[in-house]
């Protein structure tokens, strides 16, 4: 029996701290474990006993890249529990701020974190020497997304302007006009990114995923929709726990989410795109076709194209929302607390972010449960690693390491959210 061990103590260009262990026995890959060793963060426990109004500011702290996802899922859950409906321009502003988060998060991942894998550079700084225009576009897009977050959220990291019922302050039309000009440039920059990433060399690899995403009656999903899959799931978000469960695994401080009936599933851009292709504007669908994407993409490495497509969509959607904007009379609708349970589920850049809160009659949080996208994708990442790594088992360690790191980065994992960076070890016996 021969043993082989490859170890990467910290995988680059993902968020948080984790490790990957690959076990190869007699030239065959027998196990792949994504170990997350970042300490638990206890946000659900912090929330117990706090007032409902504090929730958006507390959950925003879960992530510096996708705070809006946590804020939006939380406020929807609170409003669901208290019987409050937020519509009209307040709803539109929520969609607009979410567009800002998609733009800044996707732009960062596509160019700064993921593209170097395909082009053979150790990082974006080395890549910038030969692909300066793409890096400039990424930085400009990120800035535009951040500008939108700052305008609507008060600041770009951990925004403070979101509240149950709406916002603390809403902008005047004149405040949105300068950002619209930037978004027009961002739209063109995003189209350029789609065309650039579509030229990358992609491994010939597909898996038969069960995609899970929100689906809305007439919108590409951000804040609302039913939970659907490409198999047989079509449920209200309140019924999430009837189909999905979280399990402790010994090698991870983050819980693994699984479909009770079928195991691993996939959330995020590939799932959203596959389940909502018909909800994309015609021009974006045409751009996807030009980039070589069909209506469903099962190659996780091509997720970089889908992310770029979603940046284009987010820019177009943001411009539409701004064009239609009329400042609402009130910055929020009244919320009166009552005892009950509420559910929220929105589309974070990395996939669905599901929240459930139980409230006392005065709005004090009795229990909280938060299921972030990366926790949901962990079993799917491990399944990808087994499938990608198996044919490479006899290859040199560097080859296996590179392809496995790239496989993990296909998911833009936010390990920090799921508990949080990666040590890779290959054990050969």
């Amino acid at each position: 029996m021969t043993t082989r061990t490859i170890r990467v103590d910290y995988l680059a260009r993902v968020e948080g701290e984790g490790a990957l262990d690959l076990h190869i026995s007699d030239g065959r890959l027998v196990a792949a474990a994504l170990s997350i060793f970042e300490p638990p963060r206890f946000f659900e426990a912090f929330l117990r006993g706090r007032g409902y109004n504090e929730t958006p500011d507390i959950v925003a702290r879960i992530c510096g890249i996708c705070p809006i996802a946590y804020q939006m899922s939380a406020v929807h859950a609170i409003e669901n529990a208290f019987g409050v409906t937020v519509g009209g321009q307040l709803r539109a502003l929520r969609r607009l701020i979410y567009c800002g988060e998609w733009i800044e998060s996707h732009a960062l991942h596509v160019v700064m974190l993921h593209a170097p894998d395909f082009l053979g550079y150790p990082d974006a700084i080395a890549m910038a020497r030969d692909h300066g225009d793409a890096v400039r576009s990424s930085l400009a897009l990120k800035k535009t997304g951040n500008d939108l977050l700052r305008l609507l959220g008060g600041r770009e990291i951990h925004p403070v302007n979101v509240r149950p019922g709406g916002f603390y302050r809403v902008p005047q039309r004149s405040e949105l006009e300068p950002i619209a000009e930037k978004l027009k440039q961002a739209y063109d920059q995003a189209i350029g990114l789609v065309r650039w990433v579509a030229t990358f060399p992609f491994p010939d690899f597909e898996r038969d995923y069960e995609f899970v995403a929100l689906r809305h009656a007439d919108e590409y999903p951000l804040n609302e929709g039913r939970l659907v899959s490409n198999r047989d799931i079509d449920i209200d978000i309140a019924d999430y726990e009837s189909e999905f469960e979280e399990r402790h695994v010994a090698h991870s401080t983050a819980l693994h989410s699984l479909l009770k009936r079928r195991g691993a599933y996939l959330v995020g851009p590939l799932a959203r795109y596959a389940l909502n292709f018909d909800r994309l504007p015609a021009a974006v669908r045409a751009l996807a076709a030009e980039a070589g994407l069909a209506a469903v993409c099962k190659n996780p490495f091509r997720s970089i194209i889908v992310r770029a497509i979603e940046i284009v969509f987010a820019c177009e959607e943001a411009l539409r929302l701004i064009a239609d904007y009329e400042p609402p009379k009130e910055a929020s609708v009244p919320t009166e607390p009552r005892a009950g349970v509420g559910f929220g589920c929105t589309e974070a850049p990395r996939g669905i972010c599901w929240h459930r809160y139980a409230f006392e009659a005065d709005g004090t949080i009795r229990t909280a449960r938060i299921v972030p996208p990366t926790a949901q994708n962990q079993p799917s990442i491990e399944a990808d690693l087994m499938a990608v790594g198996a044919p490479l088992a006899s290859e040199p360690d560097d080859v296996i390491r590179h392809r496995c790191e790239q496989t993990i980065r296909n998911y833009d994992p936010c390990i920090s959210c799921s508990t949080h960076f990666l040590r890779l070890a290959v054990h050969r016996t």
Partner: protein
């Protein structure tokens, strides 16, 4: 044509005010209130260093104040800068959250977007824990750094916008 307008200057305070000695950059920026000419821009980018790259591209000069790892003495001040200075990255970039000042400067230079003059004041800290107080030696160093930034700004503005500084 040779540019003769005064050098445009951006002062940046890096660090988290809630993490002990890491807050020295924002503290220096607070101490500079009312001490800098009105056309000198000030930024507190928080953790969003990538955005800083697009922000400082519009300036001739940038002065950054940041905390540094403890080497010899908490509160010890280091100044780096001038044409051709090497702000070597201490380690490979591991994540977007961890893009450091050295990464940002290197990336800016690679893109041709770096200010002509980049001056960095680094203050050695000892404790960077969340909620920790700032060490008295580090807080005292903030006063000296503020004075040196004022002098540095005056020196940079006295030069024309296209003159690299030492």
């Amino acid at each position: 044509m040779k540019q003769t307008s005064p050098s445009t200057v951006l002062v940046v305070g890096l660090g988290n005010p809630d993490c002990g000695d890491d807050g020295v950059g924002p503290l220096v920026v607070r101490k500079l209130t009312g001490l800098l000419p009105p056309d000198v821009a000030v930024a507190l980018p928080g953790g969003d260093v990538p955005t800083l790259i697009t922000q400082w591209a519009d300036f001739d000069s940038v002065i950054c104040i940041d905390a540094a790892a403890f080497v010899t003495t908490p509160g010890r001040i280091h100044r780096s800068g001038g044409a051709g200075s090497d702000f070597a990255r201490a380690r490979p970039a591991t994540s977007s959250h961890m893009l450091g000042l050295g990464d940002a400067i290197e990336l800016s230079r690679m893109l041709g977007q770096a200010p002509r003059n980049i001056i960095v004041f680094a203050v050695e800290g000892a404790c960077f824990a969340v909620g920790a107080p700032m060490a008295p030696q580090v807080a005292a160093a903030a006063d000296e750094v503020a004075s040196r930034v004022v002098a540095e700004v005056a020196r940079l503005r006295a030069r024309s916008g296209d003159s690299p500084s030492a």
